[in-house]
Subunit: 460 residues, 2 copies
């Protein structure tokens, strides 16, 4: 293919928004192990999962056969309000780094939720409405998922209750107001509104909470009403599926310009943005059609891939969810108050975990101050003020580009810029003031987390 | 022209970014009166203005001959990082209002400054750098102009000192951190760092400040150093000129789809976004080529067009700037702490003032709670969380669309959505909590403001 001159930003037309999601689960030769019912240790049935999740999401969750799954026209109509997202050539960053590498980023922050989260929020709210539900619950860390779901629920006329990780709700008071403006009810977690919350508060008085703990509360609240379901913003296969629009659009846009990535980089918390970004590229790698290097970037303060165990564990702190086979620090692991709230999760998407276990991708852990250094450099060159979560990917992309500078290699790097940092200014203030510190869990702290992994036969 | 189906968002290509700005000043048959030196009451010379502003901006300011002025390639390269901005068809809003009207909006908020302000910030920083200056000063109200200029100065390597209206700096603490992240120094105004600030603090102890007062401080600071100049984010002709990219892109995009606006609406504070949005459309109206209705929307709390006087007045509170012929509430008018900080200015762009005086446009004043009602409705339908300033235009656009619903007219409405409200959540919180109030100046308060207008012959 002849290479056309690449503009700063490549926008596809609205008609080029994918008509089908890409099901990475179907592309994988080695499937990840099934969810288990913790009471029976047997694989969860669709009926069991449907007590917690919307029926159509459960169907997608369990589908490891169909490589492509249709996107309903109603969802595509919503996507057209903010998609396709731009694929940006980072000309200014490249020049500032003086690197021979070409750097591209897929920017998902140009919508009010400020991130890629809206891609799955819209889909899940649509399916909930279609099923005749009245309300949904969820948890949120950084607040971007909660905002995205608030927007989707306002659009489809669903009631929404958001359990927001307490430390995030304190660091980002205005996130709460955005969700309220869209009509959602926001509750800092752990709260005394659920059994799970009360138990955690008793065990860890004064805790800032975690995603795992907020999940427990949201699930408990959802299953207590027949017209309510729980909606999750990451980790699960159907969320990775919805996020595949990121990768599909990126692939089409790059092909239009005759560009093929050598390296694809994304931050990993629950793993859905990364799974979605890499999906179609990874599918081809599994088929032997490319040799792309995939890099998941996690915070050193919550290093589930680089320092976790690949075992069955609960998805939440209160041990009420099904068991998932994944890289985990233990469902009882309490990450320190890193500012990348969206990455403070003890586990990892089973899909991403399986890819990592099979050696199809690698992972790096980076420290907070190095992440903000990259964030500031990126803001001053490329203009966009990135979210702390997204900045993990920026850090790794810059590091790879600097390696190219040393070796003289002209690699093509694609990274996912998942969102903007407009609600993270308290963290930027710490960095600006020079008071930000790095926290890395000690071996003792890790051991304590691992001790919370359920003692079941781990022979899968 | 045959009408093509209109997508949700119309993006022009980067090559379609205008190569020339549209000089509305040259299009006007009746030119606005010149700036006067307050000491001599004679028109300001280029040399006088150049002590305060960059030379090339002064040249543009005084140019009322050339209808088109070239945009330097370096500025266009920066524009490509975030432009063209989308022209959006408000399908969901139309449906929610059940109106026969077609509503379009030009969305300028998809950049880190969160508004259209970057269009002029880039140009002015570029000219300052080209002139060999080391630093610039400015004022900011809502903070969007200060953020925009911080981004531009980081890019061109200029030092920047921002005087931020005190009440805004308190309402929006995180705005300050964004500017700091881009390397700017931010000072709440009035401050004791200038003569002007100290004088205002003495006269109005405890005041929340105003744009006029922050301007005084920034100008005083700039003229005290030969390698520094003052940079203004609105009001002046060259700022309106730079903002004409908004109108030019809008016009091309609408023509592509065979659409012609019947009504064009924008919020007015200093008047630059409105002047830029209407520029090419108004130029054609002056030539008798269209009969578009232009509506400027201002806050009822600071109603310079609808309740002000068309006279010569100072542009700042401390009476150190040249005199401008404009609609004004008096340079001593202290607006109440409305949340639309960007609209708290006592005067109005001389170009917009002259158009209004000639009857080429009309103006409406709207109250704050009605503005936030429109903002929330817009957020829940169109997804985007708008800035309070921009929401003044939304309010008027909704009102016009509802009139169409009554009359059955299928008018085409275009409005400028100048920016996002992510840093305005304290105001949204007041609205969400039901504690927001409306303040409209009494006749007595207006009379007090008018008394500050300089007593000079007002015979132009």
């Amino acid at each position: 293919m002849t290479k056309k001159p690449v503009p700063y930003k490549i926008y596809l037309s609205e008609e080029e928004i994918p008509k089908q999601w890409y099901n990475l689960n179907a592309a994988m030769k080695v499937k990840h192990a099934p969810f288990l019912n913790p009471a029976t240790l047997q694989p969860c049935s669709a009926a069991e999962l449907s007590q917690v999740f919307c029926a159509e999401c459960v169907e997608q969750e369990l589908n490891d056969k169909d490589l492509y799954i249709d996107i309903p026209e109603d969802i595509r109509a919503f996507y057209k309000m903010y998609r396709p997202s731009p694929l940006v050539r980072a000309y200014v960053l490249e020049k500032a780094l003086d690197t021979p590498a070409e750097i591209y980023y897929k920017f998902e922050g140009n919508n009010t939720s400020g991130s890629h989260k809206l891609n799955s929020a819209v889909a899940q709210a649509y399916y909930a409405k279609k099923q005749g539900l009245k309300s949904v619950t969820t948890e949120t860390g950084a607040g971007q998922w909660g905002t995205a779901l608030s927007m989707a629920c306002a659009f489809y006329g669903l009631d929404l209750r958001v359990y927001m990780v307490k430390v995030s709700s304190e660091q980002k008071p205005y996130r709460k107001e955005v969700m309220r403006t869209y009509g959602a009810t926001v509750i800092p977690s752990p709260s005394d509104s659920t059994e799970a919350g009360r138990k955690i508060l008793k065990e860890f008085p004064g805790t800032g909470g975690s995603l795992g703990c907020a999940i427990s509360e949201a699930v408990e609240c959802a299953v207590s009403s027949p017209s309510c379901r729980y909606v999750l913003g990451s980790v699960l296969d159907h969320v990775v599926l919805h996020q595949s629009v990121i990768g599909l659009e990126s692939k089409v846009a790059m092909e239009k310009y005759g560009v093929q990535p050598d390296i694809v980089i994304g931050c990993v918390g629950g793993g859905s943005n990364f799974g979605g970004l890499i999906a179609p590229f990874m599918g081809e790698k599994i088929q032997g059609k490319n040799n792309i290097e995939f890099i998941g970037v996690e915070p050193a303060s919550c290093p589930s891939l680089t320092r976790g165990k690949y075992v069955y564990d609960f998805c939440d702190s209160a041990k009420i969810t099904p068991l998932a086979k994944m890289y985990t620090l233990g469902c009882g692991f309490m990450p320190s108050a890193s500012h990348a709230g969206g990455l403070r999760y003890h586990g990892m998407s089973p899909i991403v975990s399986a890819l990592y276990h099979e050696g199809l991708m690698r992972a790096v852990a980076v420290e907070q101050t190095k992440v903000f250094e990259a964030a500031e450099f990126f803001a001053r060159t490329e203009g966009i003020l990135p979210a702390p979560e997204s900045s993990h990917a920026i850090r790794a992309a810059i590091d790879e580009a600097l390696k190219c500078k040393e070796t003289g290699e002209k690699k093509t790097i694609l990274f996912g810029l998942t969102g903007t940092g407009y609600f993270d200014m308290a963290a930027y203030k710490q960095y600006n003031d020079g008071t930000m510190t790095d926290t890395v869990p000690t071996d003792e702290e890790l051991a304590k987390g691992f001790a919370s992994i359920p003692a079941i036969p781990q022979n899968n």
